[in-house]
Symmetry: C2
Subunit: 195 residues, 2 copies
Amino acid sequence: MSDKSEQKKKYIIETAREVFMEKGFKTVTMKDIVERCNISRGGLYLYYESTAQIFLEVLKLESQEADDVFSGNISEDATAAEILLFFLNEQKKELLRKSNTLTKAIYEFYFSEERPKKTNVIKRQFDEGVKIVENLIRVGVENGEFVCDDYKGTARNIFYVLEGLKITAQTMGVTAAMVDAEIAYIMQNLGIELA
Amino acid sequence: MSDKSEQKKKYIIETAREVFMEKGFKTVTMKDIVERCNISRGGLYLYYESTAQIFLEVLKLESQEADDVFSGNISEDATAAEILLFFLNEQKKELLRKSNTLTKAIYEFYFSEERPKKTNVIKRQFDEGVKIVENLIRVGVENGEFVCDDYKGTARNIFYVLEGLKITAQTMGVTAAMVDAEIAYIMQNLGIELA
DNA sequence: AAATAAAAATACATATGTGTCAGTTTTTGC
DNA sequence: GCAAAAACTGACACATATGTATTTTTATTT
């Protein structure tokens, strides 16, 4: 595949992302995407065969970008508490965002029948996240930063709270104060009192 | 409206509920419902004008039935801890259920554009739930059963965890043990150690 | 610049859903 | 038992989405 072709594919994914941010997943059609891209329907089918396939590519892009933010902002000698707080604040930013977010689309994708059972990107992301936080807590306890006797359970609890906040934010709204209260709660459970 | 007409409406709602349990919300069409009801398309439109309207009626029915379960199982002299535990275990039952549940449909409805902004049943239910639990905690503290210094915050936290569990159960599955751990966690935060 | 290859656009065939309405059947009241 | 009313049906007109096939445009090669 030519270089130009690769560029075009990237352009389609970036443009489609905007559409998904605005409309979610389920209601987005191939027509919506071609219109935003200013290409024809036939043209799009040359590159991608469904909105689900395009959405998976968008998720991949998002995941890469999130990794970049993370590695660009965490110094080598950061403490476990600093890293956890950075993570929680990134989540806070994401869930308070009213636009430029894929959250709604991701939830719709969750429940869409078209979702290929084998490529459950979301489950993988969740499990990875839990594992990372679990290890972070372990390190924190070993360092004497945290107090905790059930790493996995606590990590899971954190993700349940985050998921609950996310879906609540989408459907009925949450304030920054509500999120802060939950973050303080999480840290407090690990023995850290926030100022 | 005649008595027979009322009966038919109820029949439609109960039958449609089955369809929503099987297919969620978004993919259910009026055709799906008439086929299950063994009536004609035109006939259904005499009673209801959209799947969204029917779904709202289904939610109303579910809500009534849940109230009945509650009032039928909580004795007058139950302690706050008993009531809270009953509530949490009902939630557990619901979220571990693999079939005969509207959870998927409710989430899809959440995100559907058709959802009439004014009749946000789900938000109302959430807020009501939080308020009930908040008052329950207050009573429990006054009785000396619970230890808590932020009733509303704690009530909200409980619902975030429950929402997180629900969506996790739908998308990647949770085990009874995971739910029990969260319930124990919630009770422990209120100063109650479960056996 | 002509021939060829690649990319893109348009038109088509198919499928599925909606809401309505003319006609039919069933129920009801006398 | 029959006329009027109510309930119900199936087909129609319309709208929108999909995936493909043919035509047109653009780019590349010699």
